[in-house]
């Protein structure tokens, strides 16, 4: 083939790859625009602050917002210490070539690949039936107290699910703290834990927070793991106890979209619910991605 024809063919195929990339961006834009446009129409202050009424057709979704926020908060409290310290072990404490560390890494990689519905089964089998059941027996509850779906068990299930997210982001953040700062600290007579607390963790803080934001964004959007570990379609009361069930934006969306008799009629509140859910998850994700891109660029230009 002549060079010019080869060039032309190449350009055509290159154009095809560009098309693929822009098509994906287009789909993303389509989803966002569709939800934003249809959702904004029904969104109001009352919708955000009132409980639903009239079989979900009227009123608002405050309990679902509250439930999602409470669930995610509990999840964050559980996952952050464990995830950050695991990453600290892997990056700061593990002896080089440590077999244990390698096992931890393998476990984390695989944990990230376990389907979310299996986490739901795990939450049911382990937290509710095993831990909850034994707690009830030990504490002498006659009827089920802990051995039932609740916000505590759902949040712990999500904490296990988001553990890899936190570990991976924290490790990246730790990598970004220059080795010389650790050396300087140790040379001044600081112990390893003092170096960790005063130099390494503060230096890694932005990256760790990014990880937290990503975990929250992920955890708040997951529905499969909470289907049978604590989410409820409608509850008259907000969850006030650790063993209460809770309403959830994602679960609400799922039930309304698949089980309401007339989806078109419900589409106003439904779209508004999805918009709120997206605002929570997608916006947090956006923030994390922007911070991360910026710090990566800074790190790249610093070298």
């Amino acid at each position: 083939m002549k060079y010019t024809t080869r060039r032309a063919v190449g350009l055509g195929l290159t154009g095809l790859t560009a098309l693929a990339a822009f098509f994906i961006v287009g789909m993303l834009a389509l989803i966002l625009l569709d939800v934003a446009r249809n959702g904004a129409r029904h969104l109001s202050w009352a919708f955000l602050t009132q409980p639903p009424s009239d079989g979900m057709m009227a009123g608002g979704i405050f309990p679902a917002i509250f439930g999602t926020a409470a669930l995610t908060l509990l999840m964050t409290l559980a996952v952050m210490p464990v995830g950050v310290l695991t990453a600290v072990y892997l990056h700061e404490y593990a002896p080089p070539e440590s077999r244990f560390a390698r096992w931890v890494r393998v476990a984390v990689v695989n944990l990230a690949g376990v389907p979310s519905i299996v986490f739901g089964l795990f939450g049911l089998g382990f937290f509710i039936l095993f831990v909850g059941g034994n707690l009830d027996r030990l504490l002498g509850y006659e009827e089920m107290h802990w051995a039932q779906p609740s916000i505590l068990w759902a949040s712990l299930t999500l904490a296990v699910l988001t553990l890899p997210v936190v570990i991976v982001s924290t490790e990246e953040a730790l990598r970004a703290v220059p080795l010389e700062q650790r050396t300087a600290s140790l040379a001044l007579g600081a112990t390893q834990s003092q170096t960790l607390a005063r130099v390494v963790l503060p230096g890694a803080l932005p990256g760790i927070l990014t990880g937290a934001v990503l975990a929250i964004s992920r955890g708040a959007g997951e529905v499969a793991p909470i289907l049978f570990t604590g989410a409820a379609y409608f509850l008259p009361d907000l969850p006030t106890q650790l063993n209460s069930q809770f309403m959830h934006l994602g679960y609400h969306t799922y039930v309304m979209a698949t089980q309401s008799p007339n989806v078109t009629e419900a589409s106003g509140p439904l779209y508004a619910t999805v918009l709120v859910l997206l605002a929570l998850t997608f916006a947090l994700n956006l923030v994390a991605v922007i911070i991360r891109t910026r710090t990566r660029r800074k790190a790249a230009s610093a070298h």
Partner: protein, 258 residues
């Protein structure tokens, strides 16, 4: 185990020190005394083991995995690898300044106060006075006294390195190890550091690695010449530069190789 130092004026002393990175021997049977309140310069071509030797004096090599050592290092006659020596205590007595200045991304004040804080000092007034003393000692006080709360990363390269010296001095070590402290600095900043070393030797025992012959001649009392992991010769600086005993030393100091 405690050994009587052979040379009564040796603050630190290495005896038949061997140091390996994995299978590679970086220091081979080096015996060298670092005299009390003197400046000892370590010179030699790059890769000859100067930094490795320096780092072994406050056990910074412990941090590099795969290092093993044989032989003895004494501090005031005490084996620093003895189980009774805590490495944290050792590093407070033997401070270190690195080739590349490495201030923490904290304020100037917090940088200097760091070693004191991790040592448990809490009293604000005491901290402030020690920070001032160290900054004055490092001839930096006048330049930074109005901006102690600003980030140390805003200082110039030379100022950053003097800040690192002040930071190391704040914990009042007995020995100060410096690994090419001026190699990344311009001539004016270098001159300031050299001047500083002159003043510091009244109170500190100093070991300084340098690849700059003039600098070694200017600042040091004694000079040790390393070559391929071995100590070729050590003596008064004057003698090493004018009348070396070894041919290799002469070739190096006169610039025939290196």
């Amino acid at each position: 185990m405690s050994l009587q130092p052979q040379n009564p004026r040796a603050k630190m002393e290495a005896r038949e020190l061997i140091l390996r990175y994995g299978a590679k021997t970086a220091i081979h049977k080096v015996s060298l005394a670092i005299l009390d309140r003197r400046v000892t310069a370590l010179i030699g071509p790059s890769g000859c083991g100067k930094s490795t030797f320096l780092r072994s004096l406050n056990r910074m090599n412990d941090l590099i995995s795969g290092t093993t050592h044989a032989g003895t290092i004494l501090l005031d006659g005490m084996d620093i690898h003895d189980r009774g020596v805590d490495v944290v205590d050792l590093r407070r007595r033997v401070g270190m300044v690195f080739q590349k200045s490495n201030p923490f991304p904290k304020s100037i004040f917090e940088n200097v106060a760091y070693g004191l804080r991790v040592g448990g000092m809490k009293d604000k007034a005491e901290l402030a006075s020690r920070v001032e003393k160290s900054l004055r000692g490092a001839a930096l006080w006048d330049e930074v006294k109005d901006r102690l709360d600003e980030s140390a990363l805003g200082l110039s390269g030379g100022q950053q390195q003097r800040l690192c010296i002040a930071r190391a001095m704040a914990v009042e070590p007995e020995v100060l190890l410096m690994d090419e402290p001026a190699s990344a600095l311009d001539p004016i900043a270098t001159a300031k550091i050299e001047e500083l070393i002159h003043e510091l030797k009244a109170t500190y025992t100093i070991a300084i690695v340098t690849h700059n012959m003039q600098q070694a001649a200017r600042v040091s009392d004694r000079t040790a010449f390393f070559y391929m992991g071995e100590l070729v010769e050590c003596g008064p600086t004057e003698q090493i530069f004018t009348n070396p005993r070894e041919k290799r030393t002469e070739d190096y100091v006169t610039g025939k190789f290196g």
